[in-house]
């Protein structure tokens, strides 16, 4: 049952990850892309947007945890949905800058991990979104997919924003 419901989301998610990876490898990095106003450059802008995204996914983890409990307050599902949307929204310009300006990098462990996780996270997020409306999924499916998204985003933040803040300092 679960597999029958999930094969299409899994296929589409894999297509998303592959597309990102192939594009990041084939597209010649330009070094520039549209940027966000109010920052000294694209790197601090990305570091801060990714940090907002990290806050979003932490709220995701906690609110999901509460939703699976006995007596979740009625506003928790809305918090879960909206923190997720915000995290996804702010992650997009960061990812586009990575894809367009920098491309898939493999010159050290940090950039390899970041590139792989970046391709992975949007694929598994696609699977999660497409799986959500399905009825009759096994109980472990959504927590597992959500866990992948959370772990990947934390990994992405550690290999980019944390590296940036500890290397170049915390500034806008």
């Amino acid at each position: 049952m679960t597999l029958r419901l999930l094969w299409l989301p899994l296929l589409l998610g894999a297509a998303v990850s592959l597309t990102l990876g192939v594009y990041a490898n084939l597209h010649s990095p330009t070094g520039i892309a549209v940027s966000v106003a109010g920052f000294s450059g694209p790197q601090p802008a990305k570091a801060w947007l990714a940090t907002i995204c990290l806050l979003g996914v932490i709220i995701q983890l906690i609110s999901a945890f509460i939703m699976y409990g006995e007596s979740a307050p009625s506003w928790i599902p809305a918090l879960h949905r909206w923190s997720g949307r915000v995290a996804f929204l702010v992650a997009i310009p960061v990812a586009i800058h990575c894809l367009f300006a920098l491309g898939f990098s493999s010159f050290d462990f940090r950039t390899v991990m970041h590139s792989l996780l970046g391709c992975f996270v949007f694929g598994v997020f696609t699977v999660k979104m497409l799986a959500l409306p399905k009825h009759g999924l096994a109980g472990w499916v959504l927590p597992l997919l959500g866990g992948f998204v959370f772990t990947a985003f934390v990994g992405l933040w550690l290999t980019s924003s944390l590296w940036y803040f500890t290397t170049f300092g915390v500034h806008a």
């Binding site: 010649s28 070094g31 892309a33 997009i92 586009i96 920098l102 010159f107």
Partner: protein, 205 residues
Amino acid sequence: MRRSPILTLVYGLVFAVGLLTASSVAVSQRVPSAARAVPSTSPPPSPSPSPSPPPLAKVNAVWAGEVDGGGASLAISVKDGVAVAYLCDGKKTEIWLRGTAANGQLSLVSKKGEILTGTFGGGKASGKITGSGKSFSFTIATAEPPSGLYRSTENVRNAQVVCGWIRLANGRTVGICDNAGTPAAAPPLDTSRVNPINPGSPDLT
């Protein structure tokens, strides 16, 4: 309600495509200035039969020169935006740094945490290296082969010996070999045996 996750994906996709399009427009407007920033080491753009805008060259460049005050030489080599810098006084001070060169900005770090920040364009790179006991500022020019940055890695009696050389435009060459943590002046650079550095190589420390 059941469609809202799919709508989230669709909105995200639309947003991403919009940003990509805007980025493409921004890049095509920046091509003339960006092309100036790329020194002559990149091949001249060949006339393209396709009507699409020419792809923007990735940053490929080598700069070499002496730091301000002349206490040491510095070379920066960039391939496809991946940058390696080497500061060397030919005696015992050397720093290897790695990072990126993009959008006219240099940002590199060393294993010990020294930081190189700077800008490039118009045939030169300038900036500073901070974080160690000393700090260095520099303005160095594009290096034409055979000047530039050279590196060799060899295993000698189970110890890894890493040598780096900087050859300046006037032929002056400085180099240091690090033998398992002990730096010493390098032998004269033999360009028939040692190749210019490849910043994309994974074995760089």
